[in-house]
Every structure is written in structure tokens, then in C-alpha cells.
């Protein structure tokens, strides 16, 4: 609608020189992503990476999930185990993952996998954990270090969301946008990418995805993580109450973590689908190129009709 949401890069409003003869589309570079958002994004990416791999290390200390306050050891929701194979088998151990009691053979990936050439009993494989060997103590050290980085970074970002009006300006959907959801789903399925200035703004599905992550998954990660702390449960008994217990919180923490991995996969896919160079430039330098049709070039208030 209004173009006020787009801050034109004051230093470099680049328009391609008007071509002679046939009018050509114009490329305009906009300053799209503010520096605070970019810094937040990269600190977030770094801390979430280390939180994931150290979190899987911690999970490996007891690769089972339960519901409630206490562990019902015989009835896990999810369990990764190793069983010895009969003598003479190719592998000494087989990995089995139980989902609600149903066994799945997951040798090599979950339950049993090789580390330095030896097949060992371990939940997630060594290449998904930090440190690579089984080391709960250091897994916890890394996890809590990056948890602090993630939380402080997140708190500053939330302040910016509100105070800097980033939430209202760029993320909060309008009623009109909500009505476009079906069309947007169709556009996504057909790989129809928006052009012109529309490409510089978040589309409705993108807004909803970011909101689910920002206001849903990320706060849930922190809260379910805190619920696993006996000290925090003493300070805030509402935490274990809200999540149905420490073991439930641990299960939810695990589910949210893999949901974030799912978000990450789609996020990266979309970066490539929408143009990796342009998207990466935008999140690193803030500058994002859009293409305007030649007769539409006035709409930025910058160019002259060609």
C-alpha cells in the first residue's frame, strides 16, 4: 500500500541507467533490514546452532522422553536404545527408536551409531553433538553459555520489536492481509514470487511464520528450558505447573527444538527460492534489490519516467 515502510537507501539509490529504445525494468536497491535486526539475526543463528548441538549432547545422557513431573521409565514417549546383535553380525549393536512404544530400526543414526569407527550406544550420533564424544558436563556448559547469549539477545530484540515499532510496522498482519491467506498459500504452491515493492515486504505467510517463531517457539524454548531447572521451579512454581511437570517440559523443549529445525529448513529453502544473493545481501548489509516495471518507476518517488 504505502511506500513509507520502505526506507530508500540514502547513500545509494541505484537505478539502472535508462536504456535507449525499448524500456527496460528498473532495479532499485532499498535499505530493507535495519542493523539491529541483522545483528539479532546472526547472534540468534549462532546461538541456536550451538544450543541445538549441545542440547542433543545433553539429551544423549538420557535419550528418553516422558510426560508429567517424574519419569515413567517403562513407558517413555520416545526412547533411543541400543541392543546387541547376535554374534557374527556385521554390526555389534543395533539402534532402535521407540515412538510411543513402537520400535523403529535406526541403526547408524539414532540409538547406536559409530564414533571413531566403533559402533556405540548413543541417542543422536556424534556428528550432531558438541563435544563429539559423550560429555554431558561440557554439553551443559556450552548449552548454558549460549542460552544466556540467546536470552539476552532475544530480550534486546523484543525491546526493539516494541519500542522500535518493528512488530507493528513489519510483522503484525492487517485484516486485509489475513484475508489474503488463501491466495498467498496458492502463490507459494505455484512458486509465484511477488515482484516490485511487494517483494521487499513480508508476505502474510512469512509474517505468520515469523510470529509463530518469535512469539511462540522461541519463548517456549526459554520457558520449558527454565522449567528443567530445580532452582527456577522453586522460584517460580508456576513453571512446572504450566507445562505439566519437569518431564513434560523436557519433552516440549525437544519438540520445540526440532520445530525450530523445521522452520530453519523452510527458511533456507525460501532464501534460495527467492534469490539467495539478494536475500543474503539483505540480511548482511540490509540492502535488497527490487525490480520495478519501467512505467512504474515513479512509484518510489525517485526515478523519472523513461
Amino acid at each position: 500500500m504505502t511506500h513509507a515502510v520502505l526506507d530508500l537507501d540514502p547513500g545509494a539509490p541505484r537505478a539502472t541507467p535508462p536504456a535507449l529504445g525499448k524500456p527496460k525494468p528498473k532495479t532499485v536497491i532499498l535499505y530493507r533490514t535495519k542493523v539491529w535486526v541483522r545483528i539479532w539475526h546472526w547472534i540468534n543463528a549462532l546461538s541456536l546452532f550451538f544450543l541445538l548441538v549441545s542440547g542433543l549432547q545433553i539429551f544423549n545422557a538420557h535419550p528418553s522422553l516422558y510426560w508429567g513431573q517424574a519419569a515413567s521409565f517403562d513407558h517413555p514417549i520416545l526412547a533411543m536404545r541400543a541392543f546387541p546383535n547376535p554374534p557374527g553380525s556385521a554390526e555389534p549393536l543395533r539402534g532402535v527408536t521407540f515412538v510411543a512404544g513402537h520400535p523403529f530400526r535406526t541403526t547408524g543414526l539414532l540409538g547406536a551409531s559409530s564414533y571413531h569407527g566403533h559402533v556405540m550406544s548413543r541417542g543422536f550420533p556424534s556428528w550432531l553433538t558438541i563435544p563429539g564424544n559423550r560429555d554431558l558436563a561440557n554439553g551443559r556448559r556450552w548449552h548454558f553459555f549460549f542460552a544466556w547469549m540467546f536470552a539476552v539477545n532475544g530480550a534486546l530484540y523484543f525491546a526493539y520489536l516494541i519500542v522500535g515499532r518493528h512488530l507493528k510496522r513489519d510483522l503484525w498482519p492487517s485484516l486485509a492481509e489475513l484475508q489474503q491467506i488463501p491466495r498467498s498459500i496458492l502463490d507459494h504452491i505455484l512458486f509465484k514470487h511477488p515482484h516490485g515493492e511487494e517483494a521487499a515486504r513480508f508476505n502474510i505467510l512469512q509474517k505468520l511464520a515469523y510470529l509463530v517463531v518469535l512469539l511462540g517457539l522461541l519463548p517456549l524454548m526459554i520457558l520449558t528450558g527454565l522449567t528443567m531447572s530445580p532452582g527456577m521451579d522453586a522460584a517460580f512454581p508456576i513453571l512446572p505447573w504450566a507445562f505439566g511437570g519437569r518431564q513434560s517440559a523436557r519433552t516440549l523443549h525437544f519438540i520445540c527444538a526440532w520445530s525450530l529445525v523445521g522452520f530453519f529448513a523452510i527458511h533456507i529453502f525460501q532464501v534460495f527460492a527467492a534469490g539467495a544473493v539478494n536475500e543474503m545481501r539483505s540480511i548482511i548489509t540490509g540492502r535488497f534489490a527490487i525490480t520495478l516495471p519501467p512505467d512504474d518507476a515513479t512509484s518510489t518517488g525517485e526515478g523519472r519516467p523513461s
Binding site: 517424574a70 563435544p131 554431558l136 527456577m232 521451579d233
Partner: protein, 257 residues
């Protein structure tokens, strides 16, 4: 079926190659002393912030008798391989004495009956293992605070150390030990538990007494306690980090998270 499993392994191997390259670089990074120092500094922030948030008398959540775990897992040492301990266990610890010493005005030597006669507390609490699981149990024991008051702590005292009878790794030979700060030592739920679920403590759970310090993780709940010492510093004791796992693997001394 086998074709599928070969493909899956090939995919896993490719991912493994990529992952291993990144994470072995991380492992190298993790091994460097300045990185380790920075990473380990998070414990100080966690401890200070939790101290700020947790008021001294704030209790850990307590539960109903119906919440008690049917099978409370025993972890760490589940037996003590020592003839003197076995003798004590066989005769109900009637000749056993808990020594309370260190920087105190009046060292104490307490029998199990002495402890049963001291101000006590029964609580149903959740035991949170550092590995991630939890069990709920009922603990009855003598409150640590009044015992320390009776012994009279000297002003320099900063930590209470618990020396245990068990040895986790016979190769290394060191006895288990743990330590806590004074805020937790005088917390109303901090007890020297001699009974669990209404029965005298069994060997797997730390007979004759184990520590319950309910706002911290399982490895802080020292079992088979033989001696308690009030000290001004943890540095001269064993590895200097205040506990067996703290010294040997790098667990945080503050087990509140």
C-alpha cells in the same frame, strides 16, 4: 528393504561427513583454554541470577503421597565396597557416627538415633537428575541448619563439605564428596535424610544418611555421608572444585540448573 537401508546409510554418511567437519572444528575450539574459560563463566551468571531470584526461604515444590514414584532410580554409586561400611550396614549403623567438624566451635559426633532426635522434616520432593530424568520420593531427616548452629560455625565459614563412603571410580580411588554454600545449608528443606518413603534409607539410596538439597540437581544430594566439615575455601580439597563430579568431569558446582 535392504536397498532402502543402504540408501539411508549413504545419506547418513554424507550428513555425518559435513557435521563431523563442523563439529570437529568445534571440538578443537572447545579444547582451547580461553574458550573453555569463557564458556565456563556462564555458571557464575546462572548462580548469581538464581541467588538474586531465589529468596533464602523459598521452598522447592512439594508433592502428594500419590505422586511418589513407584520405582525411584538409584544412580551414581549404588553400593559401598568397604568392609567397615558393610559391618555398619549389617548391624543397622548402631556403631556409626556422623562427624561434624572443620571450622566449628564444638565438633559433634552424632549417632543415627541422635539425628532422629534432632529437629527434623519430612518432604515429598522431585529428584532431578543432571541426565534429565526425575523421580519423586518422600524424605525424612534432620535439618542441617540446627545441627550447624549447634556446632557453631566460625565467621570464616563459607561452605559445608560432605565426605562420603562411596568410590565412583575405583581406578581413580577418590571418595565421593560434595559441598554447598551457606544459603542452601540453612535452607528449611535441606536435611540429612535417614528415611525414604517411610523406610530407613537402603544402600542404593545412600544409607545411613544422604543430603537433600532440594533446589539443586541429583549429584549434589551426596549419599553415604560419613563426615561434614565447615570450611572457608574449597580450593584445598581434592581437585578444588567442590565435588567429585565437579573435579572429574566439569559439572557445575552450582547445581540449580
Amino acid at each position: 528393504m535392504s536397498g532402502f537401508s543402504v540408501d539411508r546409510r549413504a545419506v547418513a554418511r554424507t550428513l555425518a561427513g559435513l557435521g563431523a567437519a563442523t563439529l570437529s572444528a568445534c571440538d578443537k575450539l572447545a579444547g582451547s583454554p580461553p574458550v573453555k574459560k569463557a564458556i565456563y563463566s556462564a555458571e557464575v551468571i546462572t548462580r548469581r541470577v538464581q541467588r538474586l531470584i531465589l529468596s533464602p526461604g523459598q521452598l522447592a515444590p512439594e508433592f502428594k503421597p500419590s505422586d511418589i514414584s513407584p520405582a525411584f532410580r538409584a544412580n551414581g554409586s549404588v553400593a559401598v565396597d568397604d568392609p567397615a561400611y558393610k559391618n555398619n550396614l549389617a548391624n543397622g549403623f548402631k556403631d556409626w557416627r556422623l562427624e561434624v567438624g572443620g571450622l566449628v566451635n564444638k565438633p559433634l559426633s552424632l549417632s543415627l538415633d541422635d539425628l532422629r532426635g534432632r529437629p527434623g522434616r519430612t518432604q515429598i520432593t522431585r529428584h532431578d537428575c543432571v541426565e534429565g530424568w526425575s523421580c519423586i520420593g518422600q524424605w525424612t531427616g534432620a535439618k542441617l541448619g540446627p545441627i550447624l548452629k549447634e556446632a557453631g560455625l566460625k565467621p570464616a565459614v563459607k561452605f559445608i563439605v560432605f565426605y562420603c563412603a562411596d568410590v565412583i571410580d575405583p581406578g581413580a580411588g577418590a571418595h565421593y564428596y560434595e559441598s554447598i554454600g551457606l544459603a542452601d545449608a540453612f535452607h528449611p528443606q535441606t536435611i540429612l535424610a535417614y528415611a525414604m518413603n517411610g523406610q530407613p534409607l537402603t544402600e542404593p539410596h545412600g544409607a545411613p544418611i544422604r543430603l537433600r538439597v532440594e533446589r539443586q540437581l541429583g549429584y549434589k544430594q551426596a549419599k553415604y555421608i560419613m563426615r561434614i566439615a565447615a570450611v572457608d575455601s574449597l580450593k584445598p580439597i581434592n581437585g578444588g572444585k567442590g565435588g567429585y563430579w565437579e573435579d572429574s568431569t566439569g559439572y557445575e558446582w552450582y547445581g540449580g540448573i
